[in-house]
Amino acid sequence: MVAVWTLRIAALVSIATTIAIIVTLLRESAGFFAEVSVWDFLTGKTWTPMFRDKSFGVLPLVMGTILVAAIAGIVALSVGLASAIYLSEYAPDRARRIIKPVLEVLAGIPTVVYGFFALTFVSPILQDIFPDMIVFSALSAGLVMGIMIMPMVSTLSEDAMVAVPRSLRDAAYALGATRFEVATKVVVPAALGGIIASFVLALSRAIGETMIVTVAAGATPNLTFNPLEAIQAMTAYIVQVSLGETPQGTIEFKTIFAVGLLLFMITLAMNAFGRWVVYKFSEKYE
């Protein structure tokens, strides 16, 4: 039937999108890797593609991304998990009905707004605390990114906790456990798969996020563990090049495809791992 064929073609658009992403990234990166070896790219400690003395070691960008994502992860995991425990184990129904939409609003705010908030509100406060700091820092971007991905951790973790059967809780309460003990010794272990998955997916989101790091973390490729310094994340570098005057077809321009390919592979691996964890843990109580 003709109509079903039309539908099938529509469904193939999503497959074509994936193929187009992979082909685009590989084809354009191939030109880059013809001039720079994969090994030098992945292990080099200096990233200066725009300088006369060019160096294409991507580690400073990767480190910048990891530093910001790690700070965001600490914020999001602690606040997000605690919020999820509150919502799932403690909150009265009325509080839940108010809090959950608020978290949805938090998750729906455009990232450029978070970038504005990091630069104009959080950074000045941090500068008051650490007077040596310049306005751009991994810490400011990381803290705000933590707020951004926190709803993801809390919503997905709470879903996993709510799915833990009532009978397990009742059994623990019958033994005289306090609510805290039920939450941490029964519910959290039982929901661990969903909690880990929520965390991995949120971190992957943080690694792929662009505007907060572009606005607030700086544009200085910097191989550092110091969160008070300005850095440049992989995504921020891609934005910087595409806004600049770099002519297309040059090796400088091709760097964005190499960095994009690396970013794509990292987030793909994390998302696949996150879904695998959910799949692995999901059938336990059925």
Binding site: A10, V102, I147, V239, S242
Partner: protein
């Protein structure tokens, strides 16, 4: 004794006192952590409140009628968001027009027609993978395919096509959920009176699924209206003093304009950046309210 574990017997007093002390500690710990958990949620909501207050205090003084009806300028006090506002409406409108038929067709195929085999599983897994691809990768894709390969240039339609690919997984999944929510008994009733699968889909499933599709679409478009990174890659323009007239014109969108203002060193531009954010958030809020309204109306009708 019927309950050997009970500590009320005289011999058990010492043990019971220790157990009571222990219980006291456990209860204190319970209370402390209750406070911590509650504190976390208050912190999250507090962050949202601080963010909104910060933006309102920065932006409200700059938010005038002129701000919405003028073009950007080198001077903060003469700058407006008109070009970006129209650009956003263009991109989001076209994205909606393109992504609805594509997304709904894909969802109908997967839910109603596709055989449950590995090919269908591949498509389904692929869709959830696409939902997790960073938006800037879509920007790279759009730049390479729509702007360069197809030679469209940095124009509205290239932006809308890129945005379509970005939100397509959201539209597909929302539509699938809406189709799944239609009870099988409705379909069987159609089949029983001799309808073909195609007729059942067209006359029974789709009409019932439309509210779910609509609210999913609105959520997808509110994602589209706030996306900055891929639009920066496609448009690259931040200083535009005309409104796009056709899909073939160059464009800018609100998040790009806001990003540009945030990046300006002068203090005044912070104010108009915040004013731009207020306009963006009001549009988002309106769209979300629309989605909630449709959801509620639909739930009420089902309940009757």
């Amino acid at each position: 004794m019927a309950f050997p574990g009970r500590g009320s017997s005289p011999q058990g007093t010492g043990r019971s006192r220790a157990a009571n002390r222990h219980l006291g500690r456990r209860k204190v710990r319970d209370a402390i952590f209750y406070g911590l958990f509650l504190g976390s949620i208050v912190l999250g909501i507090g962050a949202l409140a601080v963010l909104l207050i910060d933006i309102l205090t920065d932006g409200l003084p700059w938010l005038t009628f002129d701000f919405i009806t003028t073009y950007p300028s080198r001077h903060a006090d003469e700058s407006g968001i008109k070009a970006a506002l129209y650009g956003s409406l263009w991109v989001v409108g076209l994205t909606g027009i393109i992504s609805v038929p594509l997304g709904v067709a894909t969802a109908i195929y997967l839910e109603e027609f596709a055989a449950k085999n590995w090919r269908t599983t591949v498509i389904q897994v692929n869709i959830s993978n696409l939902a997790g691809v960073p938006s800037i990768i879509y920007g790279i894709l759009g730049l390479a395919v729509f702007v360069q390969l197809l030679g469209l240039g940095r124009v509205v339609i290239a932006g809308a096509l890129t945005m379509t690919l970005l939100v397509l997984p959201i539209v597909i999944v929302a539509t699938q959920e809406a189709i799944k929510a239609v009870p099988d008994s409705y379909r069987n009733a159609g089949f029983a009176i001799g309808a073909t699968r195609w007729q059942v889909v067209k006359t029974i499933v789709l009409p019932l699924a439309i509210p779910g599709i609509m609210s999913g679409l609105i959520l997808a478009l509110s994602r589209a209206i706030g996306e900055s990174a891929p639009m920066i890659m496609i448009s690259a323009l931040v200083f535009l003093t005309f409104i796009p007239q056709t899909p073939g014109d160059r464009f800018t969108v609100m998040p790009i304009q806001i990003f540009n203002w945030v990046a300006q060193p002068q203090e005044d531009f912070r104010g108009i950046a915040a004013a731009g954010i207020i306009v963006l958030l009001v549009m988002l809020l309106t769209m979300n309210a629309g989605a909630i309204y449709i959801r509620n109306k639909y739930q009420r009708r089902r309940g009757e």
